[in-house]
Every structure is written in structure tokens, then in C-alpha cells.
């Protein structure tokens, strides 16, 4: 069994996964409400909270797996990218736990975790495959030829898709985190009511969402508070359509360019209902098999970290004792 620990942003996570990819537990203590008062994740507050929670979350993950530390064969931890102060809580915890049993330690790339999340469970996706990862912190499309790594085909040049949803939601007065609220409101609106700019892929597969956000800002301003409020559902639906169009267009371009037969989505934005529907339709049309992991494997979690660790070599004791976290993993 592999014990995974993930503290790169605002969720304190631990999980137990077998070397065959069977999930025994996947514990998450979300800090969402704590940060909602600030309109975004405050790194110092997140770091403080991780320290308060991490011991209990690890204990919870082991207990739910019916296991103790003596049953664990390796520890896996997110080394980066992420908030450095937050990462260090997880890395320090993982190193200390592993050292007491002289267990090997896997230092995992958080993005590798997202990319390989669909390799967990009963019907794991098989390489080669393509993957769209979209969340509040990252947005990219990748190609996986071997589960030990991935090649980024395109990534966001400014905001992440989840950030675009959160910022859009805030402009529409929906609070933080606004992604799910915007998704709900959009279902009652007309996605064609307003025209928002789309930068469709040319030769590259990169994303850009900052222009879209600015365009919503101007649209709300032009309409005036009262009209904007009355038409919030139409604005939400049109805005969401533009974000989803960008995500779907890059995914399809990647599938075609790379001649992919399997595709997966991941990251918190993969919970968005319109994205799920649209990408399923398009993949169906192209005859491409699509993997959409359950919600708890899309948002940040430690199961994907323990899962990814299965495909990368571990550092033996004591080689990891001086391991540091890395905000960028550059």
C-alpha cells in the first residue's frame, strides 16, 4: 500500500492506494469556506490550516483503509508545483512518517497526479492517451505515452480555466469559489445571448482566458447593475460557453493532431456539467474513448498522488531526508 499526501493549495489530502491502483481511502479536508471570506486562497492561512489538519487527515486515511503505518510500503507526497508554504507542510510530514519506518518516498509532480488520475480504479485508461487538466490553478492539454510522465501540448498563457470561472462568478456577484455557482446559474440561461471572444487554436494549443474576463467586466458595466443582475443567467451561460468552447476546441485539436484514440479530463473544472457533456459528445462523434474520473479524483486529492507514484521511482531511505518542496518544479 502507498500512503499519499497532498497539500499544494487549499485542500489537505491523504489517501491509501494499492500498487495495483485500488483505492482504499481518499480523505480530503477542504478549506474552501475558510478562504471564501477573502475572495481567494490566502497562502499563509492555507499553510496554517494544513498544519492543523494534516495529522488528522493522514490518520483518517489510514483508518478508512483499515491500515496502520506498518502496512504502508511507500509514502508519496506532492513536491510541487503549488504554494510553497503549503507544500512544505505535506513534504515535512511525509518525510518524517517515512523515516520512522525507513520507507521509500516518492516525490510527486502534482500535475502528473492529475494527468494519471484516470489510471486509478477498475477500468484504468491505457497509454497512449491525451488529457485535459483544468482547475483553479492549472489548465493544460497533455499527451501520455507512458504513465511515468507526460508531455504538455498546450497550456494557459494567463489565467487558469477555474480562475476564469471564479473571476466571472465574482463579477456576477456569485461569491467565491464561484465555479459551481456559475455552473448552476448557467443552466437556466441562454448561452447564445451574449457574444464573448474566443481565441480558437491556430497552430498552437495554448489557452488564454484573461481577455474573456475583461470582456465580461465591460459587458456588465455596459448593461448597468440592474440589467446585469436581471440577465445574470444569460451572462453566466454565455460566459461559461466561451470558456468551455476554448477547452473543448484545444482538446479536439490535440486529439486530431496527435491521432489519439483515448482521452481523459481532470482537475476541478472537469466537474463542470457543460464541459462534461460537450467533451463526451465530441469524443463520441470522433470515436474517441473518454475517461471522466469521479469528482473526488478530479479536484485536488492524494489518491492521484499515490497513484502517480506507482509509475515513478522512489527515493530510498535516507536519500530523501534533505528533499525540499518546489513552488514551480522548474
Amino acid at each position: 500500500m502507498i500512503l499519499g499526501i497532498e497539500t499544494s493549495c487549499d485542500d489537505t489530502c491523504a489517501a491509501v492506494v494499492t500498487t495495483a491502483g485500488v483505492l482504499h481511502s481518499n480523505a480530503v479536508a477542504s478549506q474552501g469556506l475558510l478562504h471564501s471570506r477573502y475572495g481567494g486562497v490566502v497562502p499563509e492561512i492555507a499553510s496554517r490550516r494544513h498544519l492543523e489538519l494534516v495529522g488528522a487527515v493522514v490518520a483518517d486515511a489510514l483508518e478508512r483503509a483499515g491500515a496502520g503505518l506498518d502496512d504502508v510500503r511507500a509514502v508519496a507526497v506532492t513536491r510541487g508545483p503549488g504554494l510553497i508554504g503549503a507544500l512544505l507542510v505535506g513534504v515535512s510530514t511525509a518525510k518524517a512518517l517515512a523515516a520512522t519506518r525507513r520507507l521509500p518516498l516518492h516525490a510527486v509532480d502534482h500535475l502528473h497526479g492529475h494527468v494519471t488520475a484516470s489510471m486509478l480504479g477498475d477500468e484504468p485508461i491505457e497509454a497512449p492517451y491525451g488529457c485535459l487538466v483544468a482547475s483553479g490553478g492549472h489548465t493544460f492539454v497533455a499527451r501520455v505515452d507512458h504513465p511515468s510522465g507526460f508531455r504538455t501540448l498546450g497550456e494557459t498563457l494567463d489565467d487558469a480555466a477555474g480562475e476564469a470561472f471564479d473571476k466571472g462568478a465574482r463579477l456576477l456577484g456569485l461569491g467565491y469559489p464561484g465555479g459551481p455557482a456559475l455552473d448552476r446559474l448557467a443552466r437556466t440561461g441562454d448561452p447564445e445571448a451574449f457574444d464573448f471572444p474566443r481565441s480558437l487554436p491556430g497552430t498552437g494549443l495554448d489557452f488564454s482566458f484573461s481577455g474573456l474576463k475583461t470582456s465580461l467586466l465591460y459587458r456588465v458595466r455596459d448593461l448597468g447593475d440592474e440589467v446585469a443582475r436581471a440577465r445574470a443567467a444569460d451572462l453566466a451561460a454565455s460566459y461559461q460557453r466561451a470558456v468551455v468552447d476554448a477547452l473543448v476546441a484545444r482538446s479536439l485539436a490535440a486529439i486530431e493532431r496527435e491521432r489519439l484514440e483515448r482521452f481523459a479530463i481532470g482537475g476541478g473544472v472537469a466537474a463542470n456539467s457543460e464541459l462534461r457533456t460537450r467533451i463526451a459528445e465530441e469524443c463520441g462523434r470522433l470515436g474517441v474513448d473518454l475517461w471522466v474520473p469521479p469528482h473526488e479524483l478530479c479536484t485536488d486529492n492524494a489518491a492521484m498522488i499515490a497513484g502517480a507514484a506507482r509509475f515513478t521511482p522512489a527515493l530510498p531511505y535516507p536519500a530523501y531526508l534533505d528533499l525540499d518542496a518546489s513552488a514551480t518544479l522548474a
Binding site: R37, Y38, G39, V42, E44, I45, S47, R48, L51, E52, V54, G55, A56, V58, A59, L69, I84, G85, L88, V89, V91, S92, T93, A94, K95, A96, L97, A99, T100, R101, P318, L321, D322, L323, D324, A325
Partner: protein, 224 residues
């Protein structure tokens, strides 16, 4: 009854670890003075230092009676690395955990009847406390060096100051008539040996209650 205690401190830029074995022998990684002004490297240094003192003392973690850790005040990130490490080590083997004030540990190294340990708090401020022969006279607080001098003059007290905060604010403190440990004195470093010795007299605290003594709220303002 004697206990075997592992002690850590990461409240300053330096990393300190010590194993105080039940037979009274100590195995210590004592940082040099230069570590106080260098870039903090707690994540890279702490576990190797822990492994070093455990190996030197010939003990396994499960042989320990307690883990003790300096809980600051001090640098937030460093404190979290030290405390996360201590909590995980304790959790793994069901060991007792004993939080110790880093200022008290610093004071334990000051050879004077009245000790003023000072830890750099950045932004022109220092974390301070006042101890008379180990008894806490002033609880830890944060203030500018000017204000600390003022408070001591008002109280008519003449302690000896040490710590990375004392070194950083030497000019202001000396101009205020305060006595400082010598520039090359080892008493400026928070020693993990002192964490262990204080812990030998302290009581166990539930692991979830062992958290940094931040003394400062995070820099964040609610938007609504």
C-alpha cells in the same frame, strides 16, 4: 525517571536538533552563528540532522519517550516545518509531544540572572520575552527594538540580550543601554539541547494542540 527526548528547533534561519538520551548523554546538531544570517534551509537540513543525532545516540524513533519542538515565536514557514516534522514523528510511533517556547530555549543559553531572548520578527520588529533564572517574567510578545528598550527602562530592568534579533538590532539596543551577549557568542543560537532539557520538565500536549506561537495574524483582509 529519565526520558530519551528528541528536540528540534526551526524558529530562526538555523536548524537545530538534539537527542537527549535517558542516560543523560546528549547528541546535538548545533548550528553555527552564520546560519542565523543565511538563507533558511530547514526542509533540506532538519531530517538529516534528526537522523544524525538518532544514529549518533544509537536509538530508533520507537525508543524515544517524547518529541519536543520549539514552537516559536519565529519565522512562520520554519516553524511549520519543525512542528509538522515533530507531529509526524510522534504520530508514527504514538509518542508524547512537548511544545517548548523557542524564546525560553534561547534564554536558557544566556548566562545572566535576567535574560532577554530576541528572535528576529522581520518588518523592523523582534519577538521578545523576559526570563529570571528560567522563570518567565514577560510572556512572548512582538515589538520594535525601540519599544523593547523603552519597556525595560520603564521597568528599571537590565537584562542581557541574545538571539538573531539581538544581532540584527544591535545598534538600537546598545544605544538604549542594553547589554548584549558578545557578537561571537554561541548564546545567540537557539539550541535543541535546551529544547530537550526544558521538555524534560514539561508535560505532554495532545499533538493537534501543538502549533506555532505565531504572535501575528496572517496578512489578509476579508473582501466581505
Amino acid at each position: 525517571m529519565s526520558l530519551s527526548i528528541l528536540g528540534l528547533d526551526t524558529s530562526t534561519a538555523a536548524t537545530a536538533a538534539c537527542l537527549l538520551r535517558s542516560d543523560g548523554e546528549a547528541f546535538e546538531v548545533e548550528p553555527g552563528l552564520d546560519a542565523l544570517t543565511g538563507r533558511p534551509g530547514h526542509s533540506r537540513e532538519l531530517m538529516p540532522a534528526v537522523a544524525q543525532v538518532m544514529d549518533a545516540g544509537g536509538l530508533a524513533f520507537a525508543d524515544l519517550s517524547a518529541i519536543s519542538v520549539g514552537v516559536g515565536p519565529g519565522g512562520f514557514t520554519g516553524l511549520r516545518i519543525g512542528i509538522a516534522t515533530a507531529r509526524a514523528l510522534a504520530q508514527a510511533d504514538g509518542l508524547a509531544l512537548r511544545p517548548i517556547s523557542s524564546l525560553a530555549a534561547l534564554a536558557a543559553g544566556i548566562a545572566a540572572p535576567l535574560a532577554l531572548p530576541l528572535i528576529d520578527a522581520r518588518r523592523g520588529e523582534l519577538f521578545a520575552a523576559l526570563y529570571a533564572q528560567g522563570d518567565e517574567l514577560w510572556a512572548p510578545f512582538v515589538a520594535s527594538p525601540e519599544r523593547i528598550v523603552e519597556l525595560l527602562i520603564e521597568a528599571g530592568l537590565r537584562p542581557v540580550a541574545a538571539g538573531d534579533g539581538a544581532l540584527r538590532s544591535r545598534q538600537t539596543l546598545e544605544a538604549g543601554g542594553l547589554e548584549l551577549a558578545g557578537a561571537g557568542s554561541r548564546s545567540h543560537v537557539v539550541r535543541a539541547l535546551h529544547i530537550c532539557r526544558l521538555a524534560a520538565q514539561a508535560s505532554d500536549v495532545p499533538p493537534e494542540a501543538v502549533l506555532p506561537d505565531y504572535l501575528r495574524a496572517p496578512d489578509a483582509h476579508p473582501t466581505r
